[in-house]
């Protein structure tokens, strides 16, 4: 019965099996590519760029989290950097009490979850617009807390965070910091990639694209939004934990509204809704300001960032990843046409 309804669209070889082959080979290829790219900084870069690469790893966790919320669920948070701040300051407080890795991570997760619940539960049972506005206020609140607790958090002057020591590794060494960050970044990436194959991940996509259809098949829309927000907040908290350990110093401007907007720029430019896009975004948000500084034009970064956000959001909805896919598809179409297959 396929003939008439399903006139075969141009230039696509049909896939006869039901589910896309997600077999061990494909997975192995991905892991291998990840490993090769991950091996580049320690082998080829000097200490300074290894340090920057370690930051890319930390920010990748943050952008992956924001991507779960914005790219997949279509909800906008203007406090993602603030949630990184929640993680970073929790780390600072817990580590200054002398606790190590396990307690730090547990505390970061718990505090991020509580903060996210307070923000998300009242707002997300309403509309996404409200979430954006309330997160805006949440960012202000965090800045206020830090400003007004100078004894505890160092206030506007910032605070030095004790390096994280895991066995022989010391996060104040760039190479060690890079290796430490690699593990959570890989786990966060694997979980985010896997999310796309779960019903939880599909619920998020449905909430983003059509809440009516989502509801019509039984999806709990508000619960899905809140779950996405919680995941994104924990990702941000863990990213803040790593950021504090890697850089050894945190201060309010690292986590203010502008920092949140830069994260947003990163996700949109990289390609909202894709894991690769989130990684590209993380590289952008760490390396591009550095390049502008090296070029002697640090003030250009926010200008370029703002312009890019507006332009990319309007004209290139799928970001760099979308551009790449489009080019690939066109190339294949040309090839197919040359081979006489339509």
């Amino acid at each position: 019965m396929t003939s008439a309804i399903l006139r075969r669209p141009r230039g696509e070889a049909g896939n006869a099996t039901g589910e896309r082959k997600q077999g061990p080979r494909r997975l192995l290829t991905r892991v291998a590519v990840f490993a090769v790219i991950a091996a580049v900084p320690p082998l080829l870069f000097d200490d300074y760029w290894v340090f920057m690469s370690a930051q890319v790893l930390a920010f990748a966790i943050a952008t992956l989290g924001l991507d779960v919320l914005y790219g997949r669920t279509g909800q906008m948070s203007l406090a993602h950097a603030s949630f990184m701040g929640v993680g970073a300051y929790t780390t600072y407080l817990v580590s200054s009490l002398g606790y190590g890795l396990a307690v730090q991570l547990a505390a970061v997760a718990v505090v991020s979850l509580i903060a996210a619940l307070v923000v998300a539960v009242p707002t997300l049972r309403l509309s996404g617009l409200r979430l954006a506005l309330v997160t805006l206020a949440f960012g202000e609140l965090l800045a206020w807390v830090v400003r007004n607790t100078t004894d505890l958090t160092g206030g506007t002057q910032g605070a030095s965070v004790d390096p994280l020591i895991i066995g022989q590794l010391d996060s104040s060494e760039p190479l060690h910091a890079y290796l430490i960050a690699l593990v959570p970044a890989a786990i966060a990436t694997a979980l985010a990639a896997h999310l796309g194959r779960t019903q939880l991940g599909r619920r998020m996509l449905a909430v983003r694209d059509t809440e009516l259809a989502a509801e019509s098949v039984g999806v709990a829309v508000s619960r899905t939004k809140i779950t996405a927000f919680l995941i994104s907040a924990v990702y941000a908290g863990v990213a803040g934990w790593l950021y504090a350990a890697i850089t050894g110093f945190i201060s309010p401007p690292d986590f203010d509204l502008f920092a949140s907007v830069y994260l947003f720029v990163a996700v949109v430019i990289g390609g909202a809704g894709t894991v690769v896009g989130a990684w590209l975004g993380a590289a952008y948000v760490v390396l591009v300001p550095e390049l502008f500084t090296l070029a002697g034009q640090p003030n250009l970064y926010p200008i370029v960032g703002g312009a890019l956000l507006a332009i990319v959001a309007l004209l290139v909805p799928d970001g760099i990843v979308g551009l790449g896919r489009g080019a690939w598809r066109r190339a294949r179409r040309v090839r197919d046409a040359q081979e006489g297959a339509t």
Partner: protein, 267 residues
């Protein structure tokens, strides 16, 4: 999540004294009708008759001013859209509503929400419960894609598909969880003659494989005659008549309301 996938015979859907108002306008006025269990019913009537409103009222998408809706013995009037869906009442939309940037596969899988779902944590961390749920969902999706002949497009993005295929994906999302009550709003709209016949064949086959109480809003008399063993006619928000296709299409009132207008002959 306690999604119950109901077993046993499909239920009768009873609508008693249903009134739906939008402001002062009565979209439906005191409609009492039953959708016979386990059959494909056609819902017909001229534009503005209240067909879509009736589907909305059964699926929970529109607030009811008066009246009750029963599925089997269960009164679902007070339930929201989601609870009704989990209870087995699932509808498709007249305007195709898909996850535009996603694959056919994901668009169909979202419809498996009614299956028992592992907790969010199990899903996120890929615990064994997630694997089992995944296998079950993918098996159901593969089956419905085969039935609808969509299998070879499973990994195409739906926004790249021709309109007719997109319509089928919308239907597939409804069918994948084998709901006991299926409400389809003009599933054949925009299809050509051949496509309509094929859709009718597919729906008949689905209905044979998984018996359900199915309602199809449709304008095409021939299609209704092919597909449906029961017909309900509405006009201007009121119940007109119901029965076998032969009886309903032979009814004078129906001919006046429906064909009179359709043929441009005013009574």
């Amino acid at each position: 999540m306690s999604a119950s996938v109901e077993t046993g015979a499909p239920p009768v859907v009873r609508i008693d004294g249903l009134t739906v108002r939008y402001g002062a306008f009565h979209a439906l006025r005191d409609v009492t009708v039953s959708l016979p269990a386990g059959r494909i019913s056609g819902l017909i009537g001229p534009n503005g008759a209240g067909k879509t409103t009736l589907l909305n009222a059964i699926s929970g998408f529109t607030p009811i001013a008066e009246g009750r809706v029963h599925v089997g013995d269960r009164d679902i009037t007070a339930l929201g859209v989601r609870r009704r869906a989990l209870a087995g009442v699932v509808r498709g939309f007249q305007t195709v509503r898909l996850l535009e940037r996603e694959s056919v596969w994901d668009n169909v899988l979202i419809g498996t929400e009614r299956f028992a779902q592992p907790s969010a944590l199990s899903q996120f961390f890929a615990l064994p419960a997630q694997w089992r749920a995944h296998r079950r969902a993918t098996a159901a999706a593969a089956e419905v894609l085969d039935l609808l002949g969509l299998r070879r497009h499973a990994h195409r993005r739906v926004d790249e598909l021709p309109f007719a295929s997109r319509r089928l994906v919308e239907v597939a999302r409804v069918l994948v969880s084998s709901p006991s009550v299926i409400l389809l709003d003009e599933p054949a709209a925009g299809l050509d003659q051949e496509g309509r016949q094929e859709l009718a064949a597919v729906l008949t086959r689905v209905h044979d494989n998984h018996p359900s109480t199915m309602v199809v809003v449709e304008h095409d008399v021939d299609l209704v005659k092919t597909l449906c063993s029961y017909v309900i006619a509405l006009d201007s928000g009121a119940f007109l008549c119901d029965g076998t296709p032969a009886k309903v299409f032979g009814d004078r009132q129906v001919q006046l309301a429906y064909f009179g207008r359709a043929a441009g002959v005013d009574a």
